[in-house]
Structures are given as C-alpha cells and as structure tokens.
Amino acid sequence: MEKLIIKGGRVIDPAQNLDETLDILIENGVVVSIGGGIDAEDAEVIDATGKLVTPGLVDIHVHLRDPGFEYKEDIASGTRSAVAGGFTSVACMPNTKPVNDNHTITSYILQKAEKEGSCRVFPIASITKGMAGESLTEMGELKEIGCCAVSDDGVPVSNSEMMRRAMEYARPFGLAIVTHAEDLALVGSGVMNEGPVATELGLKGIPWVAEDAATVRDVMLSELTGCRLHVCHVSTKGSVDIVRQAKRRGVPVTCEATPHHFSLTEEAVRGYNTNAKMNPPLRSEEDRQAVLAGLADGTIDAIATDHAPHHLDEKNVEFNIAMNGVVGLETALSLSLQLVRDGVIDLHRMIELLTCSPARALDLPVGTLEIGSDADVTIIDPDLKWTVDAQQLASKSKNTPFDGWEMQGAAVCTVVGGKVMFDIAK
C-alpha cells in the first residue's frame, strides 16, 4: 500500500469550506483522512510547513496540440507544463489535426495521456464535424468514452441555427457547450483590439462588439434550450455584464477569464510584440477592470489559461501574420496570486477559481480534497520569488508575454493521484 502524508500545510479547500493547518493522508491515490497530527510508519512524508495545500489546480482551457501539431506541444510536454504550474487536471480543446470529433481521436488522446501524461486530461470534443460548422458530432458516444464537453474553440459556430441545434442535442447528454464567442464577420482581418493603440500602430482592430454580440447570442440560445453554456475567455466589459445578467435570470451559464486578459492590456502590443497577439485580443484597461470585477463578484467561474503553444517560427514574424495565442500553464498561478496581493480577490476565492469552480463548470470529478476523492494536491509557496525565463518553461513552446517578469508565488509540489509529478527541488 502506497502512503503519502502531506504535513503541516495550510490546507485550503473551498469545496469543503476548509482553511486550517492540517495533515493529509493519502493511500493508494485516494485522500483517506485530513486532520491534525496524522502519522503512519510506512508513509512517505512531504513537509508543507509554511505552504498552502490546495486541491490540484484545474485548467479547463488548454491546447495540447496532439495529434497533429506535436512540434508545438504534445500530451507529454503539455501535461509536464501543467504540473510545473500546479495543475493536476486539464481540459484540452479539439482543434487538433485531425480535429477531435470522433471516438478514435478521443481514444488516442486518453490513451496517450494515460501512458505519457503527467496529469489528468479531459478531452473536449468538437461541436461540429471537423469544426466546419455544418454537422453535429456524435456527442452521445463522445461523452460516453470520456469527453467532458463540446466546443468549436477558435472557429466559433457562426450559423445560429447550427448552434441552437447543438445545444438542443447536447443538453440531454449532460454536455456543456463551450463557446469561443466571437462574431467572425466583425473580427474580419483584425489582429488586435480596436482602439487608439491599433490606430497608432496601423494594425487592423477587432471591436469589442465582436465578442459581445456572439456572447449575447449564445447566452440567449442557452436560455432557449436549457443547455449548459460555458463562455471561454471573456475579455470585454460587455461580455462580463452579459454573463452577470444571464446568471441573475437563471440561465445555466458559466464563464472563464485568462491570466493574460486580467494582467495585460492592448498596450502590451506596442513594439509589435507578437507574444501579445491572441484571440480574443488584449483589451482596454476598462475591459480589464471589468474582468477583475467579474472575478471578484462571482460572475466569472474559472481562471483558465487558454494555453496555446506556438513554435518560435510562428511568432518570429511580422505581427499581421503571427499566430494567435500564448502559453500560460506555468505563469497562471503566480499571476493569480498577484490578484490576491492586489486585493482584487482573497486567497479562498482564488483557489476556488482554480479548483472546484472550473471543475463544476465542466462537471469534472476533481477539484476537492474531500475524503474518498482522488488525491490531486498542489502545494504552493505563496512567497517564492522567481523570474520568468521563457527558455526554461517545460512547455515545448516559449510564446509567453511574461518573459522576464518578476513573479511571487509558485507551485512547489504537484501530486496527481497520490504520486508526486512535480517537485520544484528536483
């Protein structure tokens, strides 16, 4: 019997409303007891004195790029990046090549994750076959074999009737529709947020209304169909407001915000920085403030990274032709802790946004340290000072806008199913 005791840490588990200095006993990958003064002769012991001990962090929006784009990331490297950032569960988007729209690709992802992965992987299947927006995927079977939700992330379903039917079809299977809400006609050939900075730089803008209009549509379709809707990476004042109002009306909607949208604004693009190029784009300070308010008041349910690895060659080009997206798994926790230091949210809320709340949004069986649950644990040193060095990231890709940033706080040990999968000391 494998036994592990995590001793003396401040255990915070928002799912159980727990915040106390306690020990955790793990046997055979399951949390067996939590309490004071736990000892067991044959157990491996991790001393967590002075550290935070939380449920393993959950990121419901990552791109593992596998199959098809293994030069950017693969399941092994992406999940190594996850545990290095304190994440024990990731939900991976279906825009692989081929697209994860069928049993075979989902099985491939699950088997490879089982064999080579460092953390749990929950595949998200596509809404439409090939993400082409034309016909539904076999959602029933996809759910049965392990997909946790469906999404055409990155290529939003433009046809409103298609989206309606997808929601009607997904609802009885208990699948949430995960929407990348952007009206592509309004996005046009835009490459950054529309506004004074885009005008100065001579870059084509993407207006806020591209996101707000699509968010409104999907929220209303969710209201019509009763299908659970999760809105990816809200980045505008308007979309935060739309979700807030929808929740008040009882619409089954959740949403997430990314660390880059709550930490940066369109100003980061100056100098034609391609590592500040993503979709939706970095917005104005007013939008950023609205996202912060949404994180604080409960409108936003999850901090999710939209970890989007791209090869150096795809970023080391003119801004217009650079790929969209940034890696985020290894910087998310530190940037979230900054929100706590800035007084935007408290520690309890931050952990909630990174554990049980995202798990709930996609109905994942993780995100808590309750007795009997799988022993996914993240040990955090909230004071650890470190400097981001893109070249040192565990991810294959180095496209971070935070290279060189002075950070405070990091995961020092990540336990997945009772096994130490990351230890900062090693």
Partner: protein, 312 residues
C-alpha cells in the same frame, strides 16, 4: 545640433528639433538637384538597399535618385508583400541582405511594424519608406518641407487631411509631424474610414463634412482613395465618394484664398480630386515630389553620420 537617430522608423520617434534639422538639411541639398552636374561625393562608398516589398514608383525612384545624387551605391530589390509566399521569412531576407554589408536598408512593406522588426534584427540603419497603415515618415517630411516653403512656417497652420484615414500611413505620419511642429489638423472622410481614437494621436479634430474641415484651412491635403482596398463594405461607389469627399473648385473656395492643395500621389483624377484643382493655381503637388528627393537625401545623409557621432 547633432542627429542621433540611427533609424528612421517613424515620425513618432522624432522631436521638433529633429524635424527642423531634417528640413533644414533637405533645403541645403535641394539646390544640388537643379545643378548641371547633380552629384556630390557625400556618401561615396556607402551601399543603400531599397527593399520594396510593396508596389511603389514615386517613393522608390525618389530614394534611388537621392542615394545616387549623394554618390552612394543604391540597389533595388522588390518582392511580394508577404515574404512567406516566397517561403522565406522577412528575417531571413534581411539577414541575407545584411551579409552583403549595406549601410542602409530602405524598406517599404505591406505589414505595419516591418521596419521595427528589421531594426531589432539587423545592424545597419533602417529607413521606413511606408509600412502598412502605420507610418510613411519621408512623405510627411516632404509635405512639411513643401508647406514651409509656401507658408513660411508650420506653426499655427490649419491643415485639412481628407480621405481614407483608416488605411493611411501618410495621414498618421503627418498627424505626428504637424502636431509636433505646432499645426492643427482637421480630418474628414467617410465614416467607414475614420479609425477609432484617431483624435488621441495629436492636435486632431474630426469633421463629418468635408466642407467644415476645409473651411479657412491653409493646407488641403487629399489622400488617395485606394481602389484596390476599397471593398464594398467601406464605400457604396466612387461616384458618391467624389460627391461628398472629393475636392473641387467649388468647395476649395471655402479654404483660405491662399490655401495650397496637396496630394501624396498617385491621384485618382475625378475621384478624390478634380483635375481643375489638381492642375490649378493652388496645387503644389509636383513641388512635393521635387522636395521628396531633397528630404530623402537629408535622411540618408543624417542616418549615415550617426555612428560617427555616437562613437565620439
């Protein structure tokens, strides 16, 4: 004063003193262009590459002539807008050019920010000859030189710029330059062609009506309506454009009687400007072209001296 810019990436980075120095230098070079033997040895032994990745006749010719009149060796290369189409990245293209040891690369490129991209990656001087919808510094400088010649001073001038501001690098560079030199800018154009936040770039007022923008103006600058870019979502027709945003003898009367009419070229006669105006008494359009050579000589000369100054 000494000029301390190794690159000319945009007017944004230039001070009023820099602009003054460039214009004064250009003025002193201008005389060479009317000599019998139009050549001085100033940049003998220097190599200038004119790398034009986007179509250009006037600007390219102007830079080439400017280099030759200063005795530099100017070489031209051209390519498609996107270097990716050819399978070579802009960085690789630039590094290959750099390996042949040029002193200056003059670049015209369809993507905003391309000159900045190069300046970060190669060792020689970079001069921006137009990047996307971002900046076209030598055009703004030749425009200011022309205004100064005709109006004596830039300070206090009321300058109307009319047309497709959204896609215009000429407008952006002029807004920076004119604001820095104390002129006031009035903009007018179709609602689809006025970009968000343009007022924040300088001393700028946006007018809905062309007539309000040119009323009592000292300078009326008409921008080329880019037929190749004009998609049907931006304009219903050139006919309607000409009617509401074209400069003609009638609406030009609203400007000051001594107002000058400018156009960066190439013109669409009968669209943004009527031939009566473009060929009329108030037009200074060919003066702009003439001054373009002098301004580009000044830029080539000034950036060439910077390494020596910085080494002092």
């Amino acid at each position: 004063m000494a000029f301390r810019h190794k690159h000319i990436l945009g007017i944004e980075h230039l001070s009023a003193e820099d602009i003054q120095l460039i214009l004064d230098t250009a003025e002193s070079f201008k005389e060479i262009n009317s000599r019998d033997i139009k050549k001085v040895p100033t940049l003998r032994g220097k190599t200038i590459i004119n790398a034009f990745f986007e179509a250009s006749t006037r600007t390219r010719l102007s830079f080439e002539i400017a280099g030759k009149r200063l005795s530099a060796d100017s070489v031209n290369i051209s390519g498609s807008t996107s270097s990716v189409v050819k399978g070579e990245t802009l960085e690789d293209t630039a590094k290959n050019i750099e390996a042949m040891a040029p002193d200056i690369i003059v670049i015209r490129h369809g993507h905003s920010g391309s000159p900045h991209y190069l300046a970060e990656r190669v060792g020689c001087s970079i001069i921006n000859a137009g990047d996307g919808a971002h900046e076209h510094p030598s055009q703004a400088l030749l425009d200011l030189m022309t205004m100064r010649e005709h109006k004596g001073s830039i300070k206090g001038l009321e300058v109307a710029i009319v047309g497709d501001i959204t896609h215009s690098r000429v407008a952006r560079s002029n807004i920076y330059a004119l604001t820095r030199m104390g002129a006031r800018i009035r903009l007018a154009g179709p609602g689809t062609m006025i970009p968000a936040g343009i007022e924040k770039m300088g001393d700028v007022t946006v007018f809905n009506d062309l007539r309000d923008a040119i009323k009592d103006a000292d300078v009326v600058m008409m921008l080329r309506i880019q037929l190749e870019r004009q998609s049907k979502t931006l304009l219903p027709s050139l006919r309607e454009y000409a009617r509401y945003f074209g400069l003609n003898q009638e609406n030009l009367k609203l400007a000051r009687p001594d107002a000058i009419v400018m156009h960066p070229g190439p013109m669409n006669r009968g669209v943004e400007i009527s031939s009566y105006v473009s060929d009329g008494e108030q037009n200074v359009i060919l003066d702009q072209v003439e001054n373009g050579v002098a301004v580009r000589m000044a830029l080539l000369y000034l950036v060439s001296g910077v390494d020596a100054i910085l080494a002092e």
